[in-house]
């Protein structure tokens, strides 16, 4: 069983973000980075799958400048067998450009399953997985909250508004991972040491010209909160009144 997981290195979302001087993007200076949340779940799912089967290999892939190797090494320290770094100057916002580069790399890998997080925490587009699947001509299920694989077939659950659907599909396939499926293991200290010795291949790739680009990034207006109207049950009548007359939501 060979599984590829595509991951992205993103800033820590607990940070207070600042905008660059040219107003175009988030200022990365001083930020701490890590593997994007959903990508971590995907890596965990992949590892659990191969552990349960008692065989198989998990490979992680990431596109971007040298710094993304940190996220690849984190995956290696979780137990992934090897890593592939597709080296570019920067990570484009254009998901089709990313998908094109990933598809070119993954096509000949002989993977039974290719996984992505449902979206990257910074770009929040959720398109690269589905686009990569299309380019590879592989069956695709997105935003799965449960996943099982047996006998060359997969079964997945997708949450919908007010319900869910259960889908079946043949392998090889591309799946993107949602919340609720697994929490990533902590890299053990031995895992961190072992990661250094695992193969990490870096290859430069050419990106197609981007056709989606940021022109401006802004912070949304701050909420003016902070009004405590009272303590305990005594405050309830005032709350009702304010919701009716001021907020007009009741």
């Amino acid at each position: 069983m060979k599984i590829a997981v595509c991951i992205k290195r993103v800033p820590d979302m607990e940070s207070r973000f600042r905008i660059t001087g040219d107003g175009k993007s988030v200022d990365e200076a001083g930020l701490k980075f890590d593997m994007s949340d959903f990508d971590g779940y995907a890596v965990e799912v992949a590892l659990q799958m191969t552990e349960k089967l008692g065989q198989g290999e998990v490979v992680v892939v990431s596109l971007g400048p040298d710094a993304v190797q940190e996220a690849l090494r984190k995956a290696l320290s979780m137990g992934v067998a090897r890593a592939i770094h597709l080296k570019t100057d920067r990570v484009p916002v254009d998901g089709f450009a990313i998908a094109t580069a990933l598809a070119a790399e993954l096509r000949s890998g002989g993977y039974d399953l290719i996984m992505f997080g449902k979206h990257a925490m910074d770009s929040m587009n959720g398109v690269v997985g589905a686009m990569t699947a299309e380019l590879l001509g592989l069956p695709n299920v997105n935003s799965v909250s449960k996943l099982e694989v047996a006998g060359g077939k997969g079964t997945a659950r997708r949450e919908l508004e007010g319900g869910a659907e259960i889908l079946e599909f043949p392998l090889p396939a591309v799946v993107t991972i949602d919340e609720g499926i697994a929490r990533p293991r902590y890299p053990s200290l031995k895992g961190i040491m072992a990661a250094k010795k695992k193969p990490l291949e870096s290859k430069p790739v050419q990106l197609i010209a981007p056709r989606l680009e940021p022109t401006r990034t802004e912070l949304p207006p701050e909420r003016q909160g902070g009004r405590i109207i009272g303590e305990g049950v005594a405050a309830v009548p005032d709350l009702i009144r304010l919701l009716q007359t001021e907020a007009k939501v009741l």
């Binding site: 090494r73 320290s77 902590y186 053990s188 200290l189 031995k190 895992g191 961190i192 040491m193 250094k196």
Partner: protein
């Protein structure tokens, strides 16, 4: 945590990854239960398997013995993160790693190493370190626990040890005893004593107001017989246990910083959100003075530790250097915990906040592993060449 001097840039990616893994573990497994454990007076032993799986025990010992094989800066960061949780939790790991696994590694036979170390790394065998006695704390050379060699090569041990972390839950105790007469400190040797041995008793010390989330016991050995292969063959003289203490003290220098950082974070966060006289208390000069002092001492302490760790990794460090770091970092940590307690006002006496628990714990850390005063004299002797210990 505010990294005011970008200490992260002095750490390798691995060292940061180790720190982050342990930090996450502590956040998820220690912080949610530790206040309660402290009040109840129990060590959260349910975290031991998780700690073992993470690879925390004997983390700086070699991979061939089932350990993580980390460098000493990474080891220090582990202690820092554990003590950010609680000094009692870090004490557990210090004892297991530096005071039980280390002596077996440094003074044990190959058989002993292969038999014990992997099982101690995996948490299957928990150990304790029996050096201190009821009347011999700062002066371990005066110990009166005796080990008499028998005609068949076995040993019979008699004596009592006190203030032993993990004592009542340990499967083995590394007991230090004199093998000649009770005045001869050169005859001190180390023994691996199974706590199930006939004549071995461990009793929890009750009534502690510090390190409450930690097992502290008295050990009594009454004609405890151990086979010849229980002796740590390369041990000899007071130097042996002191070498172990140097390892533990190194970890404690980092650990104390963890406690200081936990308190500083609590203080800063509280200062920014607690409103009094219509504004956050962090806007008042006296609170800013507290926070500025805390930050300054933490930064100094961090730089001390990183350099000490690098020296240790190069094989260049000395026990006197460790004394300076332990003495300084524990002292500033006790101040920071106390000042945090005060900044928190009335809330600061609640177990819901970490400050007073750290404050109480750090009093033990101030006293154990060489009291503050003992390290003062070690440094004094180092500077002047003159022994002021009074002996």
């Amino acid at each position: 945590m505010l990294d005011f001097y970008n200490i992260d840039s002095l750490l390798s990616e691995e060292e940061r990854a180790v720190r982050d893994s342990v930090r996450r573990f502590v956040d998820d497994n220690v912080l949610p239960v530790i206040g309660e454990c402290y009040v109840e007076g129990r060590f959260p032993k349910e975290i031991v398997p998780g700690l073992a799986e993470l690879g925390v025990f004997g983390a700086n010992l070699p991979e061939e013995y089932g350990c993580a094989g980390l460098n000493n800066v990474a080891y220090g960061l582990i202690m820092q993160e554990l003590e950010r949780g609680d000094s009692g939790v870090r004490s557990f790991a210090s004892v297991q790693g530096a005071l039980v696994m280390y002596p077996i590694y440094a003074f044990g036979s190959e058989d002993q190493k292969r038999h014990y170390l992997p099982k101690m790394a995996s948490g299957e065998i928990i150990g304790c370190f029996g050096l201190t006695e009821p009347d011999y704390g700062s002066n371990p050379a005066g110990m009166i626990t005796m080990a008499r060699e028998q005609p068949d090569g076995s040993w019979v041990l008699n004596g009592a040890k006190m203030w032993i972390t993990n004592g009542s839950t340990a499967k083995v105790a590394i007991v230090w005893a004199k093998t000649n007469d009770d005045k001869d400190q050169r005859s001190i040797r180390g023994f691996i004593v199974p706590t199930s041995s006939k004549g071995f008793r461990a009793k929890d010390q009750k009534g502690k107001l510090s390190l409450r989330a930690s097992d502290t016991s008295e050990l009594v050995l009454e004609d405890v017989r151990v086979p010849a292969d229980a002796l740590l063959p390369k041990s000899g003289g007071l130097k042996s246990p002191l070498m172990c203490l140097t390892q533990a003290r190194y970890g404690i220098s980092w650990g104390a910083l963890g406690a200081a950082m936990a308190c500083f974070e609590e203080a800063s966060s509280y200062a920014k959100t607690r409103i009094m006289f219509d504004r956050p208390i962090g806007g008042f000069q006296l609170q800013q003075l507290r926070l500025a002092e805390m930050l300054t001492e933490i930064v100094k302490g961090q730089l001390l530790c990183v350099q000490l760790g690098r020296l240790k990794d190069r094989g260049e460090f000395t026990p006197q250097q460790v004394s300076l770091a332990k003495r300084n970092n524990v002292s500033i940590a006790t101040d920071i915990a106390r000042e945090t307690r005060r900044l928190l006002g009335a809330n600061g006496i609640l177990a819901e906040y970490a400050a007073m628990r750290h404050m109480a714990n750090l009093e033990s850390v101030y006293t154990y592993e060489g009291t503050h005063d003992v390290h003062t004299l070690i440094l004094g002797q180092s500077v002047t060449g003159l022994n002021a210990f009074g002996a």
